[in-house]
Amino acid sequence: MKNPFSSFKKIAVKSGDRIPLDRYVRKNKQVMDNLLTQYQCLDQDMIQKLCRFLNQPLHHVRESGFHCTNKLPEILHIPMARAGKIYEHSRQLIEHITYTVDDIKNLCTLTGLSKSVKPEQTGLTGLYISALINACDESYFEFDFQGHQQELHFLGFRLESGKKIIVNGNLGCFAGAQLNGGELIVNGTLGSWCAAGMTKGRIKITSDEPSTTDHKRQRWFYGLPVSVQEIVR
């Protein structure tokens, strides 16, 4: 009698990499996992407090009398100190990780596209990314944030001399805060507290001039009038 299952073949499951792609993806995943794990090691309590400050009603911004070219108002002293601590901690955490500019971009894409993640979880990725940028050997960084679900806050925090960031897309609050000699060029809109505590460097806004009244009012509200296209210190 013929075995009805004779047509079935034994297939040995291949272990290991079938094509080099498997190796590249695994390596890339390892770096990303490392970066994300270290981000989760940051002081979550401090992050929550800073996120709460970012989520406060907008009229607080106007009441503080903040202007991008003036001195840091008192209301920002504590948030800036907290941001500084998170930044320092980030620098320590990433000290032993090897990564490239592409890894930083991939991290931005990963966090920027996630709809399901709460802003509290990714709200301060900008600080972490700023630490990654300053610790990286490269000096030129170009990011494309168009189509991202969430805006990055604190991008360009303490950006050092010789570093240049070009952003295509919109940024959140505290863009270029405590800028330290670096150059930040933004082709998009900016949130509130731009250039807060900036010591030296250059921030340039290359997007089209705001055409709508709403947008003009928003810029004035944030202490970044339409006439200001460049902040140099």
């Binding site: 094509i19 080099p20 792609l21 993806v25 890339n28 991939n106 894409t109 168009q146 189509g147």
Partner: protein, 531 residues
């Protein structure tokens, strides 16, 4: 040379075996199409004779056919798989590249990389051989450089080493991460394009987004990734999901406009309207609300019973002197005619399945004055709420009439009589006047029929002649559902006046995003009460 059809007949069973027997009809070889190796339309794979003959100068035709079929079947079984995945991948490419042609080309390229890599990883395929000998444009060279890297096979490309290295870390075979992967892929290609434009800047200004397109237009490619390969059903499902994921009608429209021509072709050839008239443009806004409403399907109870008017014997009661004799039941009265002992029948009015066992028709009254959100610009939850109701009535086989008003005295009103034409109805709902708010009650009265249609109204109640409307609703016997947006003085007045009207149900909505949920639940409740 052996006939190509014979080769195809011999190879096809092997391909089916290799790809775990996909549900595809036998492919065919067609004349023409020199620059595209294959086409897929409605699951049917067509291979180009001239392409195969051209390539067979350097490779046996059997291998070329096998490679092309591997490529086509991988697209069908792995990536993009369906219309929704295709459009989602394209959407990500468009958000980075902002140019339709470029986004189309790069997203097609990404899908090729995924399908081919899946194939190369799973089985022995002649695809690398074909890529090795095929003529290449700039983008093809980039892709071949990438293939060299991730497949570990030499394809004779010695350029774009850095770009290939950057592209090699993308998890092409992780289905869940395709949107993110597409974005990373597009970013690298965009930067490469910009670098190239920068280098060639001295040679004169040119539209950099068309660079790859122009350089590649004379090159052959394996397939054309047309959107008309999908079935109308897949397209409808895909658009429904796309509408759900889009933040605004504008975002939905931006994608729809790019693929409009191809999907209209499919829908028209299959005789489907999808709310779109034959030969007319797709109305993106109407389609957006139509598809979005399908995600919030309402359940409407049919009107079950109606009084027949006839009396029938229900139970026995003692007969009393003076009561008619014809109701006496002789069987339970033991043949006696004595008050108290004799039983007579108590008759009550019967309920029968009447003529109207279905859902009644519905007239939708929608306010499109300046105080309402313009449905073209933002997600108008008023239009969405009305669309949900319309969708429910149409699904139950009823007809819908639309009265869309702003300042009716100035001619800002749209009237559509009872109809089941989705296109006309949704066009009516999406019409936005943005003027004052005044309605003509006589135009609403004109919708009344003997079958008492349901009335569904969405407004913010800031109607200048609200008194007329209230008077009319007081006279109506129809079931009336009113959704009031916002909490203003007029809405309070309306609620107060209508409090005693049992046939009028009012739902206040503070936050417009609550409308679909509230309408869903309350309408069911409303209809259940009416049993």
């Amino acid at each position: 040379m052996q006939d190509l059809n014979d080769i195809l007949t011999n190879i096809w069973p092997k391909i089916r075996d290799d790809h775990f027997f996909p549900e595809l009809p036998t492919p065919e070889i067609i004349d023409g199409g020199e620059r595209v190796g294959l086409e897929i339309k409605g699951k049917k794979i067509s291979l180009s004779r001239s392409f195969i003959e051209q390539m067979s100068r350097r490779l046996p035709p059997g291998l070329i056919i096998e490679g092309l079929l591997d490529h086509a079947v991988s697209h069908y079984t792995y990536c993009p798989w369906d219309f929704y995945t295709h459009i989602k991948i394209y959407k990500e490419a468009k958000s980075v590249l902002e140019n339709k042609t470029m986004a189309r080309k790069v997203s097609d390229c990404f899908m090729d990389v995924v399908a081919d890599t899946h194939c190369v990883r799973q089985k022995k395929t002649p695809l690398p051989e074909i890529y090795k000998i095929s003529p290449k444009g700039k983008l093809d060279e980039v892709v071949c450089a990438l293939y060299q890297k991730i497949w570990g096979i030499d394809l004779g490309v010695d350029k774009f080493e850095n770009t290939a290295l950057r592209l090699s870390g993308i998890p092409y075979l992780d289905r869940r991460r395709w949107p993110e992967s597409m974005r990373r892929f597009a970013l690298v290609i965009k930067e490469l394009n910009q670098e190239d434009a920068f280098r060639k800047d001295n040679a004169g200004k040119e539209d950099e987004s068309h660079k790859f397109q122009r350089e590649d237009k004379n090159q052959s490619s394996l397939d054309n990734h047309s959107m008309d390969q999908y079935s109308p059903r897949q397209i409808e499902d895909g658009l429904q999901k796309l509408a759900r994921e889009s933040e605004s009608p504008m975002e939905f429209n931006a994608i729809l406009e790019d693929v409009e021509e191809e999907i209209s072709r499919v829908m028209q050839t299959k005789g489907k309207k999808m709310g779109l008239g034959k030969g007319s443009r797709l109305d993106g806004d109407a389609l957006y609300y139509m598809k979005l409403a399908q995600n919030y399907a309402l359940h409407i109870q049919k009107r079950r019973m109606e009084r027949s008017g006839a009396l029938y014997p229900y139970n026995h009661v003692p007969w009393e002197a003076g009561q008619p004799f014809h109701d006496i039941d002789p069987f339970t009265s033991y043949g006696k005619l004595l008050p108290g002992l004799t039983k007579s029948w108590n008759r009550i009015e019967g309920e029968i399945y009447g003529h109207e066992t279905g859902t009644p028709d519905c007239m939708v009254i929608i306010d499109s004055s300046a105080s309402m959100v313009a449905p073209q610009k933002k997600n108008s939850h008023a239009v969405l709420g009305a669309a949900c109701a319309v969708d429910a009535y149409l699904r139950k086989g009823s007809s819908v009439a639309v009265y869309n008003f702003s300042d009716a005295d100035a001619g800002d009103e749209f009237i559509l009589n009872y109809s089941r034409d989705k296109r006309k109805i949704y066009d009516g709902l999406c019409r936005y006047f943005g003027g004052g708010t005044r309605l003509h009650v006589k135009n609403i009265q004109a919708f009344q029929t003997d079958r008492l249609p349901d009335i569904f109204m969405i407004t913010d109640m800031q109607i200048t002649n609200l008194g007329n409307l209230i008077r009319y609703f007081n006279e109506c016997e129809n079931r009336i559902t009113v959704v009031v947006i916002g909490n203003n003085l007029e809405s309070k007045q309306f609620r107060k006046t209508m409090a005693l009207q049992h046939n009028v149900q009012i739902y206040g909505v503070e936050n417009q995003s609550d409308i679909p949920e509230i309408v869903l639940g309350k309408i069911r409740e409303f209809f259940n009460h009416s049993r």
